[in-house]
Amino acid sequence: MALNLKELSQREPLFTGGARLCVGCPAPMIVKQVLYAAPHNPIVVNPTCCLEVSSAVFPYSSWKVPYYHNAFENAAAVASGIERAVVALKKRGRLARDKEFDIIVIGGDGGTYDIGLQALSGMLERGHRCLYVCYDNGAYMNTGIQRSGATPYGAWTTTSHVGPAQKGKQQPRKDIVQIAAAHGAYAANASLHAWRDLMRKVQTALNYDGPSFINVQAPCPRGWRFPSSKTVEIARLGTECCFYPLYEVTDGGKKWIINHTPRRKLPVEDYLRPQGRFAHFFQKGNEYLIEEFQRQVDERWEHLLKLAEMS
């Protein structure tokens, strides 16, 4: 399928306007790209998250594809059941063998990195042909900006406050893509601003003979404290400073490919400064937070370069 804007602009979106998401929310941008890229009949499984409570409020629905929300921590298991149902029906000749479905989970980072990790691991380990897309906004935004395993080091959230005794979140983010890759799944890091890269990854994943996981940078205006017109720009900065690099892991977790190397790697300050959640980084005496953030980003980027070089 051609991935050009002219062609895409002619197509009916499978996620309609009118959802109750915030202005500037990254979730529908990601959902539209994912569904445009899906090569077969998409079926969406959605754990409890911002997207779910804003797009499927009875008696309304934003979804023009089959959609199932079940619970918070189990979307990968629900998707596993749907995938096996398809196999079972084909085996018994009750569904045409050439009828293909794209079973896609779209969930937030809380339901993926934290409470849903076990179900995700089970889905990946069992090898279900499902794509799990995490729209990674780095906190529990649905319940009001609480820290998650995806929250960056030093970030303010409503459960990692900034005060004399503590300066935001004390731990770095969990490396979820490495965890997914360790299962032998197709795993990738992507970002909503790099639409061509994201959609290519979705197509790769859905044509991959096995489970797949794509983590997508999803800047949240409310939670990250930036103007709602800046979602795409913040995402670009995240990638250009190598905090959120674009890469993919193929060949059963063995081949690491960097999809984008910034021409000029930006200092993390450029990414941190526009976001209110990092405002304390720029207060006098807190310079060490910027240094530590930079050190962590550099360390992970260097590691990624080595992995790509080795494989």
Binding site: N41, I43, V45, E52, V53, A56, V57, F58, P59, S61, W63, K64, V65, P66, Y67, Y68, H69, N70, A71, E73, N74, A76, A77, V78, A79, S80, G81, I82, E83, R84, A85, V86, V87, A88, L89, K91, R92, L95, F101, Q118, A119, S121, G122, E125, R126
Partner: protein, 395 residues
Amino acid sequence: MRKKIGLTGDGAAAEAMRQIDPEVVAVYPITPQTEIVERFAEFVAEGLVQTELINVESEHSALSACCGSSMAGVRTMTCTSAQGLALMHEMLYIAAGNRLPIVMVNVNRTLSAPINIHNDQSDSLGSRDAGWIQLYCENPQEVYDTVIQAVRIAEDHQVMLPVMVCLDGFIVSHNMEPVELLDDGEVKEFIGEFKPRLNLLDTERPITAGNLTLPEYFFEHKYAQVYALEQSKEKIEEVGREFGDRFGRRYGLVEGYKLDDAEIAVITLGSMAGTARVAVDALRGEGIKAGLLKMRCYRPFPVQELAGALKNIRAAAVMEKAVSPGAPGPAVFSDIIAALYRQSVRINLISYVAGLGGRDVPVKSIHRVYEHLQKVAASGEPDRILNYLDLRGWE
């Protein structure tokens, strides 16, 4: 061809599952349910079923995967016990609320702590408000017959609710008895094909399922589910009757044993009914008018049937293998009081919590319950309402 073979309760459940041959089974092993999982996995390996078996990483995911496959419109089964059922607790409500006709075999085992793998019914009785149909089995034959019937009941378009088939851990699950098996074809014909009205795989008519439902609609949706469960009584009876007409073993909501002219009676569910029959026979031999009422169906609660069966009883004891700490009485006892009150039936009713954590409930202990009932019947009022059978050191 029908045949009679020796099977444990778990074996009987597995055999029924083989004949049902559901499209998807998602399971996680736990004692004393494990034999079902193992046997069924053998059927898969030997090609005796076409089922897609999902060996999930937890019970929570077992029922979650079942929700997925059931919403995709295929016949789906699972089985568990105790901690597994507790871990599924969240999903029990969702399966029922989403109106998914999943059939689950629950091998009754006590809930931790203290950790204990043996039988009582605190797991399923503790899940009584989850919105599932709950059927209790006395022996392996009933397990076999009930699992088959459960599929028909769950998938009926007027019902569309999950069914839990309960059997007592070890006492029934691991005890071998002769079981008459139906012919594979007879089972297939009896259960028919699952034809859901809506399903996720229908891409021509895409559905949005599992919506957020706010105060404006929630109450009505919940009541529709409650109504369906209430109405399912008729279907449970109808399927039990049809099963009897076709195969000779008839089932209902409750089953009386020597109850018609009884003056005292024990009401119970599961394997204790089998033991109580022996006590009833002995008492009848002594000229004592003792009877037994077995509750096969606990949810939906057979209010009229139960009250009708008890209306001429002078004193009755509810024997159940679960306790409700801090409650006015244990669950089944409290439900029966409510049912009798609703039907304006006033009898002397006492409670016996028995067999917790696998404590044996022998015939001689049940005799003591009947002795107590004789005293209550004679005096016309209970001396003590809440009793704990064979509890040591707490007189």
